[in-house]
Amino acid sequence: MAEAILDPFQYQFMVRALIVSVLVGAVCPLIGGYVITRNLSFMGDALAHGVMPGLAVGFLLGFSPLLVAVPAGIGFAALIGFISHRTGLGEDTSIGILFAGMFALGLLILSISDSITVNIEDILLGQVLGVSQTDVIITAGLAALVVFLLAAMHRQLMFTSFDPIGAKVVGIPVQAMDYVLLGILALVIVLSVQAVGIVLVLAMLVVPAATAYLLARRFINIMIIGAALGVAATVTGLYLSYHYNLPSGPAMSLTAIGMFAVAAVVRRRVTT
């Protein structure tokens, strides 16, 4: 048993994968608390697919894909706001248009480039075993930035999420806070894509936070318990990925969903 747990870490790549897994597992549910209480699931899924062209360009030019995907994700979030304001279409319609458009563009770039260095499956499903030293450093930096931003603006973000009108009346810049939240969401998605892939980022954003929502009452506890569950899911997923040669994204997502199923059976929240 101890061998199964410790053996993998004689390899450098596994140490790097573990670090990234822990960071992704911890950070996703922190923003996930807002995602599940503010109905941002579709936005999160769209952002994940929307960073596809950014990742593709990063891979092809030989940069760390994270460096290109971060501004792409933030630009995507701003563009959704712009399209809704400009056309008067519903936000989810704007999201749908950009979601499909960006994802298609990303696929097209990858297929035209005909590169052998990029594996589409890794982008879609995540391959945490393949992260580089640079990726680890960038991931750690982004994760620290996310935690810093969420802590620095916790009161304002909470107020805006619960009662945007009341928040505006007391002088909190509500619209700016909404963009800040989307910007943080974009950061989290980009740093998570390497571990869980574009298609399954949503699972890490939503599932551990939703599990914590069933177990905790106060919002801050949902964030903390969610982060603990997230780390448990990603690390477990990493082991499954290593020992059974599975893609890391599905392994981590299914672990998280298994936890949710247990929590949902054990405790059902009865509120309106």
Binding site: Q156, M158, D163, P164, G166, V169, G171, R217, R218
Partner: protein
């Protein structure tokens, strides 16, 4: 005290006796939406220690008036002054939105919500409540008799309890003018009475409280003054004096006059504006 001005030509009428400058001065507020005048030259004043009902049919501009006063809705013309306070600061005025505007899925506790009342104004990073904030929040929650519920989550509370928490939050802002938008909706009659009792206590402390309501029952028991609004100020004064047949017709059309039974011969003006 004063008479009503049903002719729709608003003039500044003091909401209460006294020669000192009024706490709240609303001057000539006009709001237009794509050519439609939601509010037309709305003016009134209110002195400290007044509980004012803002009544009118649905779509009469009650919420628009509150939004304009709170700075949420740009005005085409007009000015709102709260004496001794500046806009863009939490103590300018406090606003309790309609319950539909709240995100009830967000698991905020009673104490957290009231604490939010102390988080506006100057932007502060890593904001943590001070001991003084905590003490003040406790005072506010005790005022509305919700301290024992401080760890409860907002979604778990009844309609009346939720309104009491929002009143405590308004208190925590240290505002002198409270705007409550349809605070009785979804609140049972007993709880409504208790809310009025709490609001009277605050009124006696000198607060100016405006509550928008489309419910015309028990106005005289609930409010010191009534502001009748139908895109313009139809009347403003004590509830027993403002509801002349002419004012009621202006508010609700001829139909409104017959259901309240105060104007037997008004059926001939058979124009109902719903």
């Amino acid at each position: 005290m004063n008479a009503s001005t049903p002719n729709g030509q608003p003039n500044l009428i003091n909401g209460a006796n006294g020669s000192t400058e009024a706490r709240l001065i609303v001057e000539n507020v006009t709001v237009e939406f794509e050519g439609f005048k939601a509010l037309s030259s709305v003016s009134f004043t209110a002195h400290d220690g007044n509980l004012i009902g803002v009544v009118g049919p649905n779509g009469a501009g009650k919420s628009t008036l509150f939004n304009a006063m709170a700075g949420l809705q740009p005005m085409n013309t007009g000015k709102v002054r709260v004496i001794g306070r500046t806009a863009k600061h939490p103590d300018f005025l406090a606003y309790v939105p309609q319950r539909e505007k709240i995100n009830w899925r967000f698991p905020a506790s009673v104490e957290e919500v009231v604490m939010l009342g102390r988080s506006g104004g100057r932007w502060r990073w890593f904001q943590r409540p001070s001991a003084k904030d905590k003490e003040y929040v406790r005072y506010c929650l005790e005022r509305v008799n919700m301290w024992i519920h401080r760890t409860d989550l907002m979604p778990e509370l009844s309609g009346g309890q939720r309104q009491r928490v929002f009143i405590a939050r308004a208190l925590a802002q240290e505002a002198h003018v409270f705007l409550l938008d349809e605070s009785f909706s979804g609140v049972d009659v007993g709880a409504q009475k208790y809310l009025v009792e709490i609001l009277r206590g605050l009124r006696d402390d000198g607060k100016v409280i405006l509550m928008a309501t489309h419910d015309l029952t028990n106005l005289a028991e609930r409010f010191d003054q009534v502001l009748c609004l139908n895109h313009h100020v139809c009347a403003y004064g004590p509830p027993n004096e403002v509801f002349t047949p002419a004012v009621l017709e202006e508010l609700y059309g001829a139909h409104g006059v017959t259901i309240t039974g105060s104007g037997p011969n008004h059926r001939q003006h058979n124009e109902s504006n719903g």
